[in-house]
């Protein structure tokens, strides 16, 4: 954090200098209307989520006979079984590993590529941009057989890298498309100034661009994390003996002929928590955080 501010300082007005003394620590209350609208929205977005969470406290019979009812009696068995089971915690660890590595990889490779596409002029730039964009338009499920062959030939089957590397590849298009305008928005005066200060273009990228594109990087990071967290296809095909990820782990409650819905709901409700923690840690940085720095 401090490193970042130093790097950005030459071109930026210090945030503290901007008028008004509000900071994130001492926020004032907003108008009641805003909170009312906010609560209404939360009710709409969280209603179905709470329904799923509560479903985990019911039996399948209760859910079938009275879909709108509250747990009656309150059955903690599903949550208790899931939360004390190695079949939850071990996959949770794999999921965290895969999601963190994928996110780091996507953000790093993505911002490097987006920097080139946003700020270098060269022949073929349009082609490369379109190439990445085209990656969004073809469904992954169709390409799974050839993809499996690639993963297998590289010796990545049953390895974490077999999930992480393709995961990075599939998250690159969104990442690059979102980042290009963010990077383009950094004023060229800043680049010129840094060049006068003796920074190379790579130095400019490393010391100025990266710190300044915080909100964009964190946004694409969060999106990549969620995509990896819920990813099903890749771990399904890549992992055999490897501990599965959470989305695969939940399949243990679906046998050939039936599903334990209550357990599925409990398992998923619990597996949401780490992803939400990740988001709540980083959302502060999307808004606030480093931003005041860019005032060209």
């Amino acid at each position: 954090m401090s490193q970042v501010t130093t790097a950005a300082r030459p071109a930026a007005k210090a945030k503290a200098a901007s008028k008004g003394s509000q900071s994130n620590q001492s926020l004032s209350w907003g108008s009641p209307v805003v909170y009312f609208v906010g609560l209404l929205l939360v009710a709409l977005s969280m209603g179905p989520v709470l329904y799923i969470v509560m479903g985990g406290f019911r039996t399948n019979s209760q859910i079938t006979t009275d879909p709108a009812g509250l747990p009656d009696p309150f059955v903690t068995q599903s949550y208790a079984t899931v939360s004390t089971s190695a079949d939850f915690w071990k996959p949770a660890l794999t999921s965290v590993e895969a999601a963190v590595l994928t996110t780091l990889g996507v953000v790093l490779l993505g911002v490097m590529a987006a920097f080139v596409l946003a700020r270098y002029q060269f022949k073929g730039r349009g082609f490369f941009y379109s190439l990445f964009a085209a990656g969004l338009m073809f469904p992954l499920s169709v390409a799974i057989t050839p993809l499996y062959t690639v993963i297998s030939k590289l010796g990545l089957l049953d390895k974490l890298a077999g999930v992480v590397l393709p995961g990075i590849a599939f998250a690159l298009p969104t990442t690059i498309i979102i980042l290009v305008p963010f990077l383009r928005a950094i004023p060229k005066e800043l680049e010129e100034a840094s060049a006068l200060d003796g920074l190379t273009r790579l130095g400019f990228f490393w010391r100025i661009v990266l710190p300044l594109s915080g909100p964009g990087l964190i946004t694409v990071g969060v999106l990549a994390f969620v995509a990896s967290w819920n990813g099903y296809m890749l771990p399904l095909f890549v992992f055999n003996t490897h501990t599965p990820t959470l989305p695969l782990g939940v399949a243990q409650f679906s046998t050939q002929h039936s599903t334990d819905t209550a357990a599925v709901l409990a398992y998923t409700s619990l597996s949401m928590i780490p992803a939400l923690l990740f988001f709540s840690i980083f959302e502060r940085r999307i808004v606030g955080g480093l931003t005041g720095a860019v005032k060209g």
Partner: protein, 437 residues
């Protein structure tokens, strides 16, 4: 920060070298060897990779003990059991069979899928080695795992289909005896409706549960010869196909199915058609032998309910087919063509009286009838007893006729039941699908 970058570069170079080439030749790569270390005989430890779908207890626990017992008797052999959810397993097998790391022993649903696998040369011909097992299971029951008279897999579980019903609801509606004929069934539907009850649950959204109604009518209208002949020529020109569609359309017109059946799912736990039967929301469901276990898992006390009963699909007056025949299905195992000899040995072990008896004790119906006595669930004993009256069993038509025709039946039967398709149009849609390659 440098290290990951460095690693990426290494990987990236590797990718450039192999990735593209691998990707581009992926489809031409049919002769991939089974690259495990199992082909060599001798004393070295041999590993048998086994993929199956029994991913929950008690089934899973049972197969673990089977593996442990077998390994104890066969030093030097290690069975690497990998378990997946049913649908996941199907997709995985398809991809893995054409890669260079296929499983040795894998779940085999039989029928059209097996034919594709055999034609592509992935499956071992077991014919010479399993004659004894076939004799025990019964020639006719193995047909689904045979291609051109050769056996490429064996079922380990088999069971007939029938109508599961709620005795209490029947009684409440004043139905005194189980329906024997189609007219009896229609009368029962009428009485249940009159009593304000939903007669029959059907998972229309999944297609196949509705299609099973058509299969059973086809079984009553078509001769066994026609059913067998159409498995190869796929003509579906015999008038019996349309008559069966007419029977079903007429039956559907009496409004026998649950409210909202078009979007009802069959077996996804809460809210499914099985859940309706389990909780007294519908009186009947046409389903395979596994139904009692599914229903049992969805009741308030998670036990097979006392009220659950079973009767064979009713006879259709004037039908040209066998009125005593039954639809049936099962799951089996196949060996990869390059699997070690221990693969077949292990299949034979699975089908032995001892292992099958243990399997029956977990509440599933064994393929080996000698093990039927080990079924503990009363309703399953009842069904297997009634199965003795069956003249012949016919494997699911969507399995026998392949995914092409099977899906056409599954998808179009809903339109037939809703009256959007006339019986003739329905049969035409099936014929057209059969003509596509």
């Amino acid at each position: 920060m440098e290290r990951p970058q460095h690693r990426f570069k290494k990987i990236a170079i590797g990718l450039a070298a192999f990735g593209l080439a691998a990707g581009l030749t992926a489809c031409g790569d049919s002769s991939a060897p089974a690259g495990d270390d199992t082909t060599a005989g001798g004393d070295a430890t041999q590993t048998l990779i086994w993929w199956h779908n029994m991913n929950a207890d008690p089934g899973l626990a049972y197969w673990k003990t089977v593996v442990a017992d077998y390994e104890a008797d066969h030093p030097g052999l290690k069975i690497d059991m990998q378990v997946y959810q049913n649908e996941d397993l199907r997709t995985k097998i398809r991809t893995a069979l054409q890669s260079d790391s296929p499983p040795d022993l894998f779940q085999q649903w039989g029928g059209g899928e097996l034919i594709d696998q055999v034609q592509a040369g992935y499956v071992m011909d077991l014919s010479d080695q399993v004659a004894d097992e076939i004799a025990v299971i019964g020639e006719g029951n193995v047909v689904g795992w045979q291609v051109d008279g050769q056996t490429y897999g064996l079922p380990f579980t088999l069971g007939i289909e029938g109508i599961w019903y709620n005795k209490d609801m029947f009684e409440a509606a004043g139905i005194t005896s189980v329906p024997k004929t189609l007219d009896d069934l229609s009368a029962a539907v009428e009485k249940l409706r009159a009593a304000g009850l939903q007669p029959i649950a059907v998972g229309g959204q999944d297609g196949w549960p509705a299609a099973h109604w058509y299969f059973n009518f086809a079984l009553r209208e078509c001769s066994q010869a026609t059913l067998v002949a159409d498995a190869t020529d796929k003509a579906f020109t015999d008038p019996c196909w349309q008559k069966a569609a007419q029977d079903l359309a007429d039956f559907a017109a009496t409004d026998p199915f649950n409210d909202g059946w078009v979007t009802t799912q069959a077996q996804v736990g809460a809210g499914s058609s099985a859940g309706m039967l389990a909780n007294g929301q519908a009186a009947m469901e046409l389903m395979g032998i596994w139904e009692s276990g599914v229903v049992g898992s969805l009741t308030p006390d998670q036990k097979v309910p006392e009220f659950l009963g079973w009767f064979p699909f009713p006879s259709v007056p004037g039908g040209g087919g066998d009125q005593k025949a039954a639809m049936a299905g099962g799951d089996g195992f196949s060996c990869h063509k390059d699997a070690p000899a221990s693969c077949v040995e292990f299949i034979k072990y699975i089908l032995s009286d001892k292992v099958q008896a243990g399997y029956a004790a977990t509440g599933s119906v064994p393929a080996n009838p000698n093990a039927n006595s080990s079924l503990t669930e009363p309703i399953l004993q009842d069904v297997t007893a009634q199965a003795k009256d069956v003249s012949y069993t016919q494997l699911w038509l969507d399995t026998v006729y392949g995914a092409n025709v099977g899906e056409a039946i599954n998808n179009n039967v809903v339109a037939l039941l809703q009256g959007q398709y006339q019986p003739a149009e329905f049969v035409q849609a099936v014929q057209e699908a059969a003509a596509k390659s």
